[in-house]
Amino acid sequence: MTEKKNDKLFIIIAGLVIGVIAAALAFAGNPKNMGFCIACFLRDTAGGLGLHKAPPVQYIRPEIIGIVIGAFAAANVKKEFGSKGGSAPMTRFALGFFVMVGCLMFLGCPFRMILRLAGGDLNAVFGLVGFVIGIFCGIFFLKNGYSLKRTYTLSQGEGCWMSMIEVVLLALLLVKPAFIAFSEEGPGSMHAAIALSLGAGLVVGVLAQRTRLCMVGGTRDLVLFKETRLLWGFLAILVAAFITNIVLGGFKLGMAEQPVAHTDGLWNALGMLLVGFACVLLGGCPLRQLVMSGEGNADSAVTVLGLIVGAACCHNFGLASSPEGPTPAGKIAVIIGIVVVLCIGIVNTYVKEKAADTATDAA
């Protein structure tokens, strides 16, 4: 029981620290209510590398680098680093892709959803409703036998790839070669100093690795096991970011003219429904995927690549929303995403189960 109590206290403290850091980063130069956003920052990084050509959102975000390296370091110190993978990598890639489609419909990942709520952006309430509905959709499949099959131990080098890529990205960010794009206006041009962003990312990476913090895990565990530990982390971030916003004067209650947000409630909800649904089938939110990629999980690294490719496609194909609202193509993409994720759920729950039952019957 003592371990359990300490665990809860630890995740609450970690959540409070992360919440303060995330809210404060927006005052250090990051876009409003975007101290952290895994989806937006992977999208900006994709833009920085020239994978998409949307000028306002191109910047290699040091926060992402920090999270992965921080998780890598923490996992190594605690001897938890392990190269693992082999659990349906392409399915995870596809799920990662559509998580990003949903995030860029809403304009934020689950982490930024909390920060938007903490900043008084009531559009995020619609996102939260959709998110919870999406999680329930995923739980339905979990309860009925959904599985992407087991992971295997891989060679030590395999688990280091994402961390090594982040080191290269850091070098590119610092050296600024001509082929790396940097936004001159828009959200991509708004950023805290590199050292500050990197430091914040490192702290969040270490804390998220130690606590197993996950934005979908909170609701999932509450519904599946009546377990509240992860949810406390979620709530602690919300409370800390809310208080920080009040103190620093960043709280603005309302729906209209919120920073990097639109007011279409239905599509905010549907975007996050897709995110919640796909994340439960993946086993973790985008933040958790980044952290696990640092811990040596190659399946999570493939998921992160799916998120990055998804972000590039969203901007190349005009799927991403803007403060003016969602695009028609984006709406179609979200519907396609929900259908694809539903199919992934069905195939990995019922089709496989039937095959296993047949094998058992034959035996």
């Binding site: 371990e3 359990k4 665990d7 938890e80 392990g82 693992k84 659990s87 979990l142 309860k143 009925n144 036998g145 959904y146 599985s147 992407l148 099959k149 087991r150 992971t151 295997y152 131990t153 130690r210 197993r212 996950c214 895990g217 565990d221 599946l224 096991f225 377990e227 530990r229 992860l230 086993g283 296993a356 058992t360």
Partner: protein, 84 residues
């Protein structure tokens, strides 16, 4: 009577294993994995039994440990293809 913890690759492994334990009349509960143990999906089943229970029909179990009185764990099973 010993206390065991079994961890799983995916959530449904835990759910199915808890059902199996209960069908055998064992006291079992699905819960998050203690942080000192690792698991792919983050869930485990803690149960009480005289002997460890294995499910030969499914390969979802990642590891099984026996809970010692001093709060430590002794690993008694690790899935093939995993290294610690």
């Amino acid at each position: 009577m010993n206390t065991y913890i079994a961890t799983f690759f995916m959530h449904f492994g835990s759910i199915r294993y808890e059902r199996l334990c209960k069908s055998k009349g064992l006291e079992a509960r699905t819960m998050p994995v203690p942080r000192s143990l690792s698991s792919s999906c983050g869930t485990c089943v803690r149960y009480k039994a005289d002997e460890p229970l294995f499910d030969p029909d499914h390969d979802e179990m990642e590891q099984m440990v026996i809970c010692n009185e001093d709060g430590s764990y002794t690993q008694i099973y690790l899935a093939e293809g995993l290294a610690k």
